[in-house]
């Protein structure tokens, strides 16, 4: 049975330093507010999992939460590079970031295997690519009927999956609709889950295209209106495309990023715990003077590869 609690409590009770944390939402319904809470609580050494580590993980990586990233596409959709992500990979700032990268199809199937209680999933994928040799958790598998060679990917089983949804009911059933992405699989694959919602309504009337996660499959629910911003919740908000464009400049510079973090994340206290184990804000921004990362080249060329 899901418990409805404040966001800070949901994160405090579910996420530990070093955990494997998946925050999913495919452009739509990205749990930004929960990501900010993870930053505020000063969590460290996380293995972050996400198909499209866009602005939300750029912020968490830049804030020093992550030790490793498991992903399939890391960019600012329609805008360009993720500068904090690139700074971590190219310059080890604020800390080195280990990468495990896949294709979207591979990541989606890794969640499917996790949700299905299987140790692996099979797909036509990776064959002939550098990914197949670069990443672990990818193996060749032979069809026992046709002898055809295919690819197996290992199941993903996050310690915690975090998503944002439109609604829950008082019993803790969760409902989301629109582009529903891989969130059902990500929640069902995880040991624990946190769902932020726009609102709690007395009853979840059926909606076209809606996914319902029964209360007994969810850990914690926190009511956070507009908790996906700058992503959106269909029926509640629209995607703040201006923010994604603005993020390019904010994130390009370490110092400006640090200021933004202080002002817009660490300065906000949606549910207490503000002073719980946080590093001093100055310490995070300290490395900014070392910048000059040379990022930003060719962003326009590379974004097309998002497909």
């Amino acid at each position: 049975m899901a418990e409805i609690v404040p966001l800070a409590e949901a994160v405090e009770r579910s996420v530990r330093d070093g955990d494997t944390v998946a925050m999913e939402g495919f452009t739509h319904l990205i749990p930004h507010a929960a990501g900010h809470e993870v930053i505020r609580q000063g969590l460290r050494d996380l293995v972050l999992v996400r198909m499209t580590p866009d602005v939300i993980y750029d912020q968490m990586i830049g804030a020093g939460c992550a030790r490793k990233l498991i992903f399939s596409w890391g960019g600012n959709p329609g805008v360009g590079s993720l500068h904090r992500f690139r700074d971590a990979v190219e310059n080890g700032w604020p800390a080195p970031l280990e990468l495990e990268e896949h294709s979207h199809a591979g990541m989606a199937n890794r969640y499917v295997a996790g949700a299905a209680g299987l140790p692996f999933a099979v797909l036509r994928g990776y064959r002939g690519t550098g990914l197949a040799t670069q990443a672990p958790n990818i193996a060749e598998i032979t069809c026992p009927f046709t002898a055809e060679k295919l690819t197996a990917v290992a199941a993903l089983r996050p310690d915690v999956t975090v998503i944002h949804a439109q609604r829950a009911d008082p019993a803790g059933n969760v409902q989301f609709w629109g582009i529903t992405g891989v969130q059902k699989e990500a929640v069902l694959a995880a040991r624990q889950s946190v769902v932020t919602v726009e609102e709690v309504v007395p009853e979840l009337d059926p909606r076209p295209g809606a996914v319902v996660l029964p209360s007994w499959t969810v850990g914690y629910i926190a009511v956070v209106p507009n908790g996906a911003h700058p992503s959106y919740a269909l029926g509640y908000s629209v995607r703040d495309n201006d923010f994604y464009v603005a993020w390019d400049a904010i994130s390009r510079d370490r110092e400006r990023f640090g200021q933004w973090l202080d002002e817009h994340v660490r300065g906000e206290a949606p549910g207490g715990l503000l002073d719980g184990g946080l590093p001093a804000a100055g310490a995070v921004a300290a490395g900014a003077a070392l910048a000059g990362t040379g990022v930003g080249a060719a962003a326009g060329q590379f974004q097309g590869s998002q497909a």
Binding site: G130, G300, G304
Partner: protein, 263 residues
């Protein structure tokens, strides 16, 4: 970002590139579309000669009919106008993987003489890249499983290389026969459309060769922007410039984009 070279009759190099890409799409085709140049071209085709084009985005929207260019593959307009919205695992497993999609429309960071695509890292050492690119996304399986693939990217020596630093998505691998050996079911990148012209694989070797140039573009100019000894097709054609209708439609499409184009 590459500066568009000014076109002859009041159109830019980017505009003729997008128009040429759009013309490659036939009505009622199913088309798996990436954001950016591919999405621009596919939406232009739908707005002009291919109103029945079925646009499929990896966010799970099948038959999306956006009235403007979406900034991301997950914009609300895609879900709201789609014939069907399915989960991300389903779009890859039930729709892309079985070879159900006619055309895959990709961008690229680097592309090599055999049409292999790199969107992962620039530099020889994966663990210490010169430039970290966004990664694979849906491209490896689009490149593997669509009946055919079109790649759209701007010409430059940095982008058109003898051999990509990292094969993110397989074109023709090491040449003819590679796709068959790997069990890739689609035909591969049958066209690479740039801001200078069009490259297509040599039927014998699968090496990309120049088969078309835009008005005012010379073959040496294209070769100077290509990092391998670019062969020229015996049937090299001059590609017709955009019609006024095409240009008007393209500019209208970009004008209504809330963020001024997906460039």
């Amino acid at each position: 970002m590459t500066e568009a070279t000014g076109g002859a009759d009041g159109y830019s190099a980017d505009e003729i590139m997008t128009v040429t890409a759009a013309r490659s799409l036939r009505d009622r085709m199913t088309c798996f579309v990436g954001i950016g140049l591919p999405s621009e071209a596919a939406n232009l085709a739908r707005a002009t000669h291919a109103p029945g084009l079925v646009l499929i985005y990896e966010s799970g929207t099948i038959g999306a009919k956006p009235g403007w260019l979406p900034l991301s593959i997950g914009d609300g307009v895609l879900a709201e106008t789609a014939d069907a919205v399915v989960s991300v695992p389903e779009i890859f497993n039930y729709w892309l993987q079985p070879g159900r999609i006619d055309m895959g429309f990709l961008g690229a960071g680097q592309i090599d003489r055999f049409g292999n695509i790199n969107t992962t890292v620039v530099g020889a050492d994966y663990n210490a890249p010169k430039v970290r690119l966004p990664g694979a996304g849906g491209a490896p399986e689009i490149a593997a499983s669509c009946h055919e693939v079109i790649v759209v990217l701007r010409h430059s020596l940095r982008a058109f290389v003898e051999q990509v630093d990292f094969i993110t998505s397989v074109g023709f691998g090491e040449g003819r026969g590679s796709r068959e050996r790997l069990g890739l079911t689609g035909a591969g990148p049958l066209k690479v459309i740039t801001n200078l012209g069009v490259l297509e694989p040599d039927p014998q070797t699968c090496e990309l060769m120049l088969t078309g140039v835009y008005p005012g573009v010379s073959v040496p100019e294209v070769q100077a922007s290509t990092g391998w000894d670019l062969k020229v097709s015996a049937g090299l054609a001059e590609i017709p410039p955009p019609s006024q209708d095409e240009l008007t439609a393209l500019r209208a499409l970009i004008a209504v984009n809330p963020n001024g184009g997906a460039s």
